[in-house]
Amino acid sequence: MMPQSSMIDLLSATRKLPASWWPNELTPGVAAALATAFLPLMLNDYQLQVMWVAFYLAVLAISWNLVAGYGGMFSLAQHALATIGGYSSAAAVLALGLPVWWGVVCGGLAAALLGYLLGHATLHLRSLYFAIATWVFAEVARQLITINYEITRGAMGLQVPYLFSTLDPIAYFYLFLGLLLVAFGASAILLRTKLGYRIQAVRDDEELAIANGVNAARAKRTIFAMSAGMAGMAGAMYGHAVGLLAPSQADFSQMSLIIIAAVLGGYRTLWGPIIGAILIQAVAEMLRFSQEGRLVIFAALLIVVFRLYPQGVMGALKILATLLRRRRQAEGKTQ
């Protein structure tokens, strides 16, 4: 009775079920990370520096994609949470005398806690108000860091200890590659857990999710705090990689960059933020003849790509793959 195509679907469905905690996306992720780990053999200092900055941006974009893309919470505070992570770590290291690694942990925890509180205060708001509320949070953070220059040194920049004793970018390349792999793996696994399904269900239809037994508010708060923690930890590592913190990291232009990276690569996809961040860095380096025009070209690129493929580069790749498959099937039939 059952048509053949749906039998095939059923079989593949059984295989693709969220049965295992090891998501399908993770295998190519680990493979790519392993391949990337050999890159320093071919790259010079500068390229390594560009790569680690790309990885850092990718981590922020992943964390934002988690709240905004998968969670449907259009937050505009990711850059500020990262900055807060950086300054919290600095406080732990400089004021309390903790080791730098502990500082990084403190930075992540502080950002997660603030994220949780911010989520508590704002997540009941409708999307438009929520976006503005998070933007206000970011702006307040930036201004407070700037105004309290007696403590933070404001725009003069706060010097913090480096994570490693060397300035060699190889060390930071592996550090941020590791962080990126963790962030990618964590979100891939998270999306396959019950919490992951809950948050995606809430994103699609909050009422329906509630009617099916999902505590929507709690799911949103949890994801928001996790994403904030991820950003905060990345921000803390960033501070100790650059050796300097400044309120300009909490400038909205940094948030724009995170959004551009995530959306250009593919909004609501696991690989998108990574592809986007690396693409942005690569394009920036190709455009070295026109430094001033860098952001103009990014924005134009985003507008064109996003207009044609709202799923970004990932969307374009998917369409390409479908076309190729169809052509192959067509060829198969003619033969």
Binding site: Y46, Q49, V53, G154, A155, M156, G157, Y238, A241, E292
Partner: protein, 410 residues
């Protein structure tokens, strides 16, 4: 045999000739190889791209000057490797972008020296990299005294720090008998390093002084200025850069502080042509700090710059451009003195000093104590306009006393 031998000889000769020719042409090519000098400066937000553009203009004209007037680097004593070329690196005013840009300049462009840093954060972040690469770093306009205070081997500073400005403003204010000073500083590294320093100085010196720090993105400074008015200062020190500087002037008039209270602008903004267009009558009697004045005798290089700048951009060069220009030609001179583009040798030459820049003071980097480590101190003048739409050259020099050309008009 003979034939073979002569044949072989001929071939050898031909080969030798070919090799020589290749080598010569290669050397000729090597001679033409430009020496790259990096300009690391903010060219996109959140950095102050307006300042960055001025710095780039100065550096590019500096390279032009070196190539046209000095005949490139290594012009006299060493075999000349060729012209100087400016390579831009955008730091967006961010430490991490600055590091990446500097690494790019070193790795891809093989720069022999870098100048232009504008934000203190960027200067502090790239300082250790410059050490690592043994790359001379000329800090053009970052003003935090930690930069020279760190006593690093390859960092050189030509910019004034908080203390220099405080010295001049304090001496000027004292000599004219002002007693109540209102300081309005923007919340950038410039404002937060100099503002508090200056206020402390005035209070320690027995004057009454109050400091207001304001957000650079806030265009409405009226509430702040109402507080200033309540304080009733007899002079206002305006530490805005760019738009805020204009806004302070305009809005001081809105609350009635101007034209009664004298105002000092902390840099040479008033020499720009749009100053009068933007402010009109309000610009009358404006006092401002400047690092040069047209009647001041500039060096040939300085004169050349002002002329070329006016030709290219149809306005006078501001301090940012002058400083970047100066840094570029100083770096070129140091390379010439060292007969090398190697960082170690160039920085050695820089420490020996004795370079011409755009002003008559010259540039020397002594390894003095504290914040004067490898820092070349530049003279600061205090000027005043006395009429609306006055030309920059006609402004009165009020300070230093030995250059004074007129009295303060209140």
């Amino acid at each position: 045999m003979d034939f073979e031998l002569s044949g072989k000889l001929a071939i050898a000769a031909a080969a030798a000739a070919f090799l020589t020719a290749t080598a010569t042409s290669a050397m000729a090519q090597a001679n033409a190889t430009p020496v790259n000098i990096g300009v690391l400066t903010p060219l996109s937000p959140p950095g102050d791209s307006a300042a960055g553009q001025l710095i780039v203009r100065g550096a590019e004209l500096g390279a032009k000057y070196v190539n046209q007037r000095l005949g490139g680097v290594w012009n006299s004593t060493c075999p000349a490797p060729g012209p100087v070329n400016i390579v831009k690196g955008d730091d967006s005013g961010l430490a991490e972008k600055g590091m990446a840009a500097l690494r790019s300049l070193v790795t891809n462009d093989k720069i022999a020296g870098v100048l232009g840093t504008y934000d203190s954060t960027v200067a502090l972040a790239v300082q250790p990299l410059a050490e690592q690469y043994k790359l001379p770093l000329l800090v053009t306009q970052a003003s935090d005294d930690k930069i020279s205070g760190n006593h690093t081997k390859f960092t050189f500073m030509t910019h004034t720090i908080a203390r220099d400005r405080s010295d001049v403003v304090e001496a000027f204010i004292k000599s004219y008998g002002f007693k109540r000073v209102a300081i309005l500083a923007e919340n950038t590294d410039y404002g937060t390093s100099s503002g508090p320093d200056m206020q402390k100085r005035f209070v320690d010196g027995g004057m009454s002084s109050q400091l207001w720090i304001f957000d650079k993105t806030n265009p409405d400074l009226l509430p702040t200025l109402l507080q200033v008015k309540k304080f009733a200062p007899d002079v206002i020190y305006n530490m805005g850069v760019g738009a805020p500087a204009y806004l302070i002037v305009k809005q001081s008039a809105d609350v009635g502080l101007l034209p009664k209270t004298p105002m000092i602008i902390s840099y040479d903004l008033p020499i720009r042509p749009e100053f009068w267009r933007n402010l009109g009558e309000l610009g009358k009697n404006m006092i401002f700090l400047s690092y040069y004045q047209p009647k001041q005798v500039l060096t040939d290089a300085g004169k050349w710059l002002q002329e070329e700048y006016r030709k290219s951009y149809n306005e006078p060069a501001l301090y940012s451009s002058l400083a970047a220009f100066g840094n570029t030609i100083v770096l070129a001179q140091a390379m010439n003195a060292a007969c090398s583009t190697e960082g170690e040798k160039v920085s050695g030459a820089l420490v020996k000093g004795g370079f011409t820049s755009w002003n008559q003071t010259g540039v020397a980097f002594k390894q003095s104590d504290g914040v004067d480590w490898q820092r070349s101190v530049q003279p600061i003048m205090v000027l005043q306009y006395t009429k609306a739409n006055q030309g920059f050259g006609d402004a009165t020099i009020l300070y230093p006393p030995n250059m004074k050309t007129g009295e303060l008009v209140r």
